[in-house]
């Protein structure tokens, strides 16, 4: 079945804007505080911080006034004695190495990032009706009518507003996010030696540009053993190279049985037992590609796009490595990306690539509408009998694939193999470690009571154990338990 071009571009813009939002939030609000000591920022000289910021980037908001404002706000917060969400941070930890001025600059951008993540999320909300959980998807297209004679459809006013939002956030990505993550990489260069883990990388081609989904704006594929010269592309939604090589193991997962199965044959029958180091210990299944665990996410995506010769990816990767090299005073090559800080740097590179792609998708949509094509939906038809299908997408945390078996118009089996399943998965049927687990081996831990270094590596994957289920532990249960064995 074919999806109209307008629908592809609208879907692509939602995906690109959503991922840009995710990557900004991940770095500043979920990961940065593993590297940035907010309390140390109080000791910084705001004038020196402003000159540091201006020496690193043309960003117009690295001003003394703005930086001093953030520092005053932080001071008031700390003096109040009510640190709120910052209360349980590992402030003053010996592994925190940034100068007070760098910490203050990062804290300033932490606050600014709150504005920009909101701006880019507006693109998702305008096109998808709300966010999260967009409402405009339809099998066969999107439910966004386009009609130049109507005010109640997707109008030029809305589309130009989207363009403004993309450009505003793009400047933040290029002038702030890319620079800050390069600085973290340079000042914590020792972290290029930790956290590689599983270096089989899997990534989906994405942003289909034609009705049949055979041409993609962003390439994807597979890299075995970290060797980019062995890159093999996934060429289309029908490519058997991907379709036939995915399996899930439940040997160490709380499901009934012990098997390795293709998702079309998969089952999800829960069978909980206690946490057993050598037995079952997770609700996450353990996916494999060609029988081996694979790391997914922005690092896998950037390495695959780089290997495929994707120009914007090569441009932003080289730009990132050049900034890191100049700040670190030593040549840093692409091999440094196989690491904890490399995963963070790659996420920023991907974010910049998405900014370029978003501009391209917007232009493609405008050009297609200008050609007189207003179609956004083709009604689907379901052939009789049993049908098997699947789809993939390069989500913010990596390759996502959904597998479906339909019988007489009803779902017979549905299995989703999502990015965090690939990365957070437990040992597989050969007892090979999953990517989180493998990445932790060899990590330093200077104080087991405050395992900041463990969090750095785990957070670098941007874990999403279930975005949509929001539960808050208000009982202040202990978070770290240490036992001498």
């Amino acid at each position: 079945m074919e999806v109209p071009k307008n629908a592809q571009y609208i879907r692509n813009m939602i995906m690109g804007a959503h991922a840009t939002h995710d990557h900004i939030v991940h770095f500043y609000h979920l990961a940065a505080l593993d590297w940035v000591d907010i309390v140390s920022a109080l000791k910084a000289d705001a004038k020196k911080t402003a000159s540091l910021g201006q020496s690193l980037s043309p960003w117009p908001r690295n001003t003394y006034q703005e930086i001093k404002g953030v520092q005053d706000k932080l001071k008031a917060l700390v003096e109040s004695g009510q640190l709120g969400i910052y209360g349980s941070g590992y402030w003053g930890h010996p592994a925190m190495k940034l100068a007070p001025e760098v910490n203050l600059l990062a804290a300033t951008h932490y606050i600014q990032a709150l504005e920009y993540q909101r701006e880019i999320n507006k693109v998702v909300a305008i096109l998808g009706s709300k966010t999260p959980h967009i409402q405009n998807v339809a099998v066969g297209g999107v439910a966004n009518p386009i009609n130049p004679d109507s005010q109640s459809t997707l109008t030029l006013e809305r589309l130009y507003y989207i363009k403004t939002l993309i450009e505003k956030v793009g400047a933040f990505v290029e002038q702030v996010l890319l620079v800050d993550t390069a600085a973290v990489g340079a000042f914590y260069a020792d972290w290029t030696a930790y956290g590689a883990g599983v270096t089989n990388y899997l990534s989906a081609p994405d942003m289909p540009m034609d009705e049949k989904g055979t041409v993609f704006a962003l390439p994807g594929g597979y890299i075995p053993n970290g060797d980019v010269t062995k890159f093999q592309p996934i060429k289309s939604y029908q490519d058997p190279f991907f379709r036939d090589n995915v399996k899930e193991s439940i040997k160490h997962s709380w499901y009934d049985g012990d098997w390795d199965r293709h998702p079309w044959e998969g089952e999800t029958v829960p069978n909980y037992s206690d946490f057993k180091d050598d037995g079952k210990y997770s609700w996450v299944k353990s996916p494999t590609f060609m029988g081996k665990p694979a790391q997914v996410g922005p690092l896998a995506n950037v390495l695959c796009m780089y290997a495929a010769g994707h120009k914007p990816t090569q441009k932003y990767t080289n730009q990132m490595l050049a900034t890191v090299s100049s700040l670190a005073g030593a040549k840093v090559g692409i091999s440094a990306l196989h690491s904890t800080v490399g995963r963070i740097a790659a996420r920023s590179v991907r974010c910049a690539v998405l900014y370029d792609t978003l501009k391209g998708q917007w232009q493609s949509l405008m050009d297609n509408i200008a050609s007189g094509d207003m179609t956004t939906f083709n009604p689907p038809t379901f052939p009789a009998g049993e049908q098997r299908g699947y789809g993939f997408h390069e989500a913010p945390r990596g390759i996502l694939s959904h597998w479906i078996v339909i019988d007489s118009g009803k779902i017979k089996n549905y299995q989703a193999v999502v990015p965090s399943t690939w990365n957070a998965g437990p040992r597989n049927s050969s007892d090979a470690l999953g990517p989180y687990e493998a990445a932790l081996i060899g990590n330093p831990v200077s104080n087991p009571e405050k395992p900041l270094e463990v969090l750095r590596t785990v957070h670098s994957f941007d874990p999403c154990l279930a975005c949509a289920i929001h539960m808050v532990d208000t009982e202040e249960n202990e978070i770290v338990r240490v036992k001498a064995v």
Binding site: H133, V137, Q415, V418, I469, V482, K483
Partner: protein
């Protein structure tokens, strides 16, 4: 003598993740990653109209 560290739940992420590490001589020597929640959306989807799947599936990101 080594130490076993259990971080449960890991915060500043989405969902419920438990990480266990064996630490010897200041280094992690073994690790376990454990998803501490079950989604079960696959079960909910059985026998439904495939055109409705997307509105259910976007409710689980992760695990």
């Amino acid at each position: 003598m080594g130490k076993r560290i259990t971080i449960d739940p890991v915060t500043r992420i989405e969902g419920h993740l438990r990480i266990d590490c064996q630490v010897d001589g200041g280094k992690v020597t073994n690790a376990w990653s454990s998803g501490q929640m079950w989604r079960g959306i696959e079960v909910i989807l059985k026998d439904r109209d495939p055109r409705d799947a997307w509105i259910f599936t976007q409710r689980f990101c992760g695990v």
